[in-house]
Amino acid sequence: MKKTINISIGIIASLALISCFDSNRPNYQYMPNMYEPVGYETYGEYEVFPGDMEAMLPVEGSIPRGWKPYDYENTTEGLEKARAELKMPIEVTEENLARGGQLYTIYCAVCHGDKGDGQGILMQREKFLGIPSYADPGRNITEGSVYHVQMYGLNSMGSYASQTNELERWQITQHVMNLKAALKGEPGLLIDSTNVATDSIRTTLEEAEEMEQAVDNSEQETN
């Protein structure tokens, strides 16, 4: 009799130990009032906000620091206008090209392929179909149209304006134009500092960096 009691105590104890772990629930804490924030946390759920959501859209009409208005509309005419007249405001430098290449690998290469031939992994796995090559003559992409499409998206492609900032989009544009040139067998963009002297529209690299800095600051403030 004693034995059975002992055994059953052992079984209950081991069951109690096992059942404590529930991967569905966070663990208990020492002094949770030091763990939990007093202020509103990012993505928190608080009753003061509409829909209990801390993550809200900025007030309509507000613009982040360092942001410049984009004058082309999200229409076919806007795209054609950008294709014809929008030019790159940043210089072609090795650094910009390298950053553009990295960002291209993150955001574009899944569909458009590492070489820009439209053979990305999502195309190969038939998740997306009919992704054109950058060298496709029917599309005739220019730096203006590449930027415009990143800004607003086109047909099946979505907008990348929420994932990249202005400078990053131009850096990606440089990489895309290089890929197009490579596909066509033409020489790519020239890394040439004399551009600045001849073309006053193009801002200097310093300004571009400042722009990035400002965007970064404003983003950190929001967090």
Binding site: P26, Y28, I106, E126, F128, G138, G158, S162
Partner: protein, 441 residues
């Protein structure tokens, strides 16, 4: 006379084998027929549907599907709706026709929200015929994988979690019965022995073991020291896991599989968590980021995991949940404007008194996400891989050398500190990575 057992065995066995053979050959035959039926296009007239499929996928499929609208209208049987010659010129340059004022062309243009169809001047008449032949392909019947391939399902169910649990339960019951039977048998045997006059020797009354134990003072000392030590060990282990969430895997409102997105489809972590590059938080992507791809991908067509209930229908239903939350109307391919917040459950959480910055680690240090978050690309359900304790942070800061490539600020400080510590490669700890104020302020 010797009794021959299984006299009929050879004939019975061969019959059984034959039956088995026939069963399997019948299923394979049925499959062939089924696949042949789905491949075969309906009567089309002219054109090669197979060649058309290649052309369709390369040129049209970015905007058109056969059976449901995408960016452009569904194309199943489009050849019946319009004149062939008219289609040739529309496909080669639709905008010219709209501008010229062709009434049919203008009507289509207006119907589809004035979306401009890309011109395809390079397609010949035969190419277009082939594509049109392909558009007559009937929608394939949805085949239940279990009916098409019974062996697969049988194999999977026998290895699945539920049935193996049942097997274990049955085994446990069998063992329990054996134990009971053994007990009963010994009891009966004893009774028989007693009835037959076998007398068991009476055991001598010995000092009980616990009394002997208490008398041995040394043994008591050793055992109590051992007990105290092991109790201390377990108590320490238990207290150290308080406030630690390693392995935390909550159920999310939408079953998002990192395995499919980051593993099978090799999408970069930064694609969705784009703010990890430049902000403190590695943000949870807003739903517009999901819609970058899922505007197009409305159904799951990849591999299934039937054992765990992750069927194609299951995944497709999860995509529909996304559509509902973001307010996307599939039929009209437009946003309704009625959105609902998705209440994702946060997994990785640091206490309020600890500061951590993603951009510092991702952009400046160039650390792979997997170093802290584990093999996310293999996780069907996301869980916390690392303990995220202070000891864990400190360990990494002690072991990791600072990468100096292209960073002039660190270069200067590195030279000075290397001289001070007399080392070749500085760790983060040596650069002040262990100072309290770096993370707690």
């Amino acid at each position: 006379m010797i009794k021959v057992k299984f006299r009929n065995l050879p004939s019975q066995l061969s019959l059984l084998l034959l039956a088995l053979l026939l069963t399997f050959s019948i299923t394979t035959y049925a499959q062939d027929e089924a696949s042949a039926a789905t491949e075969q296009p309906a009567a089309t007239g002219v054109g090669d549907a197979a060649a058309g499929k290649t052309l369709f996928n390369a040129n049209c499929a970015a905007c058109h599907r056969l059976y449901k609208p995408a960016t452009g209208p569904a194309l199943f049987g489009v050849g019946d709706k319009y004149d062939r010659e008219w289609l040739y010129s529309w496909i080669r340059n639709s905008q010219a026709m709209v501008k010229a004022g062709d009434p049919q062309a203008v009507a289509i243009f207006e119907e589809n929200n004035q979306a401009v169809m890309t011109a395809f001047p390079a397609l010949t008449d035969t190419d277009i015929d082939n594509i049109l032949a392909y558009t007559y392909t009937e929608k394939p019947e949805v085949v239940d994988p279990c009916i098409a391939n019974p062996e697969l399902c049988e194999g999977e169910t026998s290895t699945s979690g539920v049935s193996s649990e049942i097997i274990l339960l049955v085994l446990a019951l069998v063992f329990l019965m054996l134990v009971v039977m053994l007990y009963l048998v010994t009891k009966t045997l004893k009774r028989i022995a007693e009835a037959n006059g076998v007398v068991y020797e009476k055991k001598e009354k010995r000092t009980p073991i616990w009394q002997a134990f208490i008398k041995n003072q040394f043994l008591v000392l050793v055992v109590s020291v051992f007990l105290l030590l092991s109790a201390g060990y377990f108590a320490y282990g238990w207290m150290m896991q308080v406030g630690m969430d390693q392995g935390y895997a909550p159920v999310q409102p939408i079953h998002y599989s990192h395995k499919i997105h980051a593993g099978d489809n090799e999408i970069d972590c930064n694609y969705c968590h784009s703010s990890a590059r430049k902000s403190k938080h590695s943000g949870i992507p807003s739903l517009n980021v999901c819609m970058n791809c899922h505007k197009n991908i409305s159904e799951y067509t990849g591999e299934e995991d039937i054992a765990n209930g992750y069927t194609r229908d299951f995944y497709t239903a999860e995509i529909k949940k996304l559509y509902e939350a973001v307010g996307w109307d599939e039929a009209s391919q437009s946003y309704t404007g009625e959105t609902k917040p998705v209440k994702w459950v946060r997994i990785h959480n640091l206490p309020d008194f600890a500061y951590f910055n993603h951009s510092q680690h991702v952009t400046v240090a160039g650390i792979e996400c997997q170093k802290c978050h584990g093999p996310v690309e293999e996780m069907e359900i996301m869980y916390q891989f690392s303990p995220l304790t202070m000891g864990w942070c400190i360990n990494c800061h002690r072991e990791t050398n600072v990468d100096l490539k292209g960073n002039d600020y660190y270069k200067k400080i590195h030279e000075e500190l290397s001289k001070k510590y007399g080392v070749d490669q500085l760790t983060i700890a040596q650069m002040g990575g262990l100072e309290c104020g770096k993370c707690h302020y």
